[in-house]
């Protein structure tokens, strides 16, 4: 009996995590594409996004190219740390996106 309960609760838990993961990725994509938020498509080609600009490198194979999520967070939060002349807006530093939003975008980028 005890075994059953714990099994079902683990199941519920993992199902719950799965659900939040999908929504985090979906939210991340939305934030990345939203013109008033990330507006990343203004410069980057990304996933299924349309009408994208071409003044920055396309974002693909992110897990292979950026195995360390910290690096991605840093590039989005403050691009100037990697390149002081970067034309990519420092989204965190300038309050365009908060930590939570950036973390969701990173989750989304890892699906690419």
């Amino acid at each position: 009996m005890f075994f059953l309960i714990s099994l079902s609760s683990t199941y519920a838990l993992s199902k719950g995590t799965l659900e939040t993961e999908t929504t985090r990725v979906e939210q991340g994509e939305k934030l990345a594409f939203d013109r008033k938020k990330g507006n990343c498509l203004a410069c980057h080609t990304i996933g299924v996004g349309t009408m994208s600009g071409n003044l920055a490198p396309p974002l693909f194979a992110m897990r292979e190219r950026f195995p360390n999520p910290e690096k991605l967070v840093q590039q989005i939060s403050n691009s100037l740390l990697n390149n002081e002349d970067s034309i990519m807006p420092p989204f965190g530093l300038h309050g365009l996106l908060n930590e939570e939003q950036i973390s969701k975008i990173v989750d989304y980028l890892y699906t690419l």
Partner: protein, 276 residues
């Protein structure tokens, strides 16, 4: 000497992104060389056509629009305003500007006495105030129309801005600094979009090179649905990056115009223009 200038120019070219202190002449050579090298297929004289010098598709649409140019009404209205306005003292614009022909190339210039940059739009309002009339709005409306009329009758004249003397060089340097300074929540400098990214697409919009930027103003923009001055465009680009835009003919904008015009020396005026 020629070799030295070339050497400094290539050095400056390598450092184009940072603020240069090589002096106006060398900076101008580097600025031009940068675009000439970046777009070797573009005829050097064609940079006055902005984005249409770079993109064939956009150019075709533009050529079609030019068959019935939407700025024509502004030129006609500007002509009437220029010729028919009588100030309360009985004087007209002619008292300040003569016939208004080939006038555009006198501006912008650095006025030593007033210790500031004088643009054609500023001169129009100076004329009005001198003769007891109220100044006009600087970015839109009648002033932009008069400016369009004057530009039209200066087509083909060569841009020949003189930067000489320490006060003028200081104004030029201030304009240059404004051009290279990142600003706004999105943290962009003019150079980021119109030098480094010229020819690239921001969303669906191809970015024009700064070389030649001043030649064709005022401009009828389809987006505006009206004619507007260069400073209207400056403030649009400021707002785009969520930076504070400035009033028309602010000191910053005049210095910026002075700097940008000097960079475009030797190109020809072809205003007014039409843009998307």
């Amino acid at each position: 000497m020629k070799k030295l200038v070339f050497l400094i120019a290539s050095l400056a070219l390598a450092l184009y992104g940072t603020i240069l202190f090589a002096g106006p002449e060398v900076e101008q050579a580097a600025f031009k060389a940068y675009f000439h090298n970046k777009f070797p297929d573009v005829d050097k004289a064609d940079f006055i056509n902005g984005v249409y010098a770079l993109d064939k598709n956009a150019r075709e649409q533009w050529v079609e629009i030019e068959e019935f140019p939407p700025y024509e009404i502004a030129i006609d209205e500007g002509e009437l305003l220029f010729n028919n306005t009588r100030f309360t003292d009985g004087k007209s614009y002619g008292h300040c500007f003569g016939t208004g022909q080939h006038l555009r190339k006198k501006y912008p210039y650095f006025d030593e006495e007033r210790a500031q940059v004088i643009t054609v739009e500023l001169a129009i309002n100076d004329c009005r105030e001198k003769h007891g009339a109220k100044p006009l709005k600087y970015k839109i409306g009648d002033l932009a129309k008069i400016s369009a009329y004057l530009s039209y009758h200066s087509r083909g004249d060569v841009i020949d801005v003189i930067v000489s003397g320490s006060a003028a060089i200081q104004a030029y340097n201030k304009g240059k600094e404004y051009y290279y300074t990142k600003r706004g929540q999105l943290n962009f400098a003019c150079v980021d979009c119109h030098v480094s990214s010229a020819g690239k697409r921001l969303r669906t919009e191809i970015l024009s090179p700064s070389l030649g930027h001043v030649s064709h103003f005022p401009v009828y923009r389809l987006k505006w649905g009206s004619i507007g001055t260069l400073h209207r465009r400056f403030s649009g680009c400021n707002s785009q990056v969520r930076a504070k835009s400035q009033p028309g003919q602010s000191e910053d904008y005049r210095n910026l115009e002075f700097f940008l015009s000097y960079m475009s020396n030797d190109l020809k005026f072809n205003g007014p223009g039409v843009r998307r």
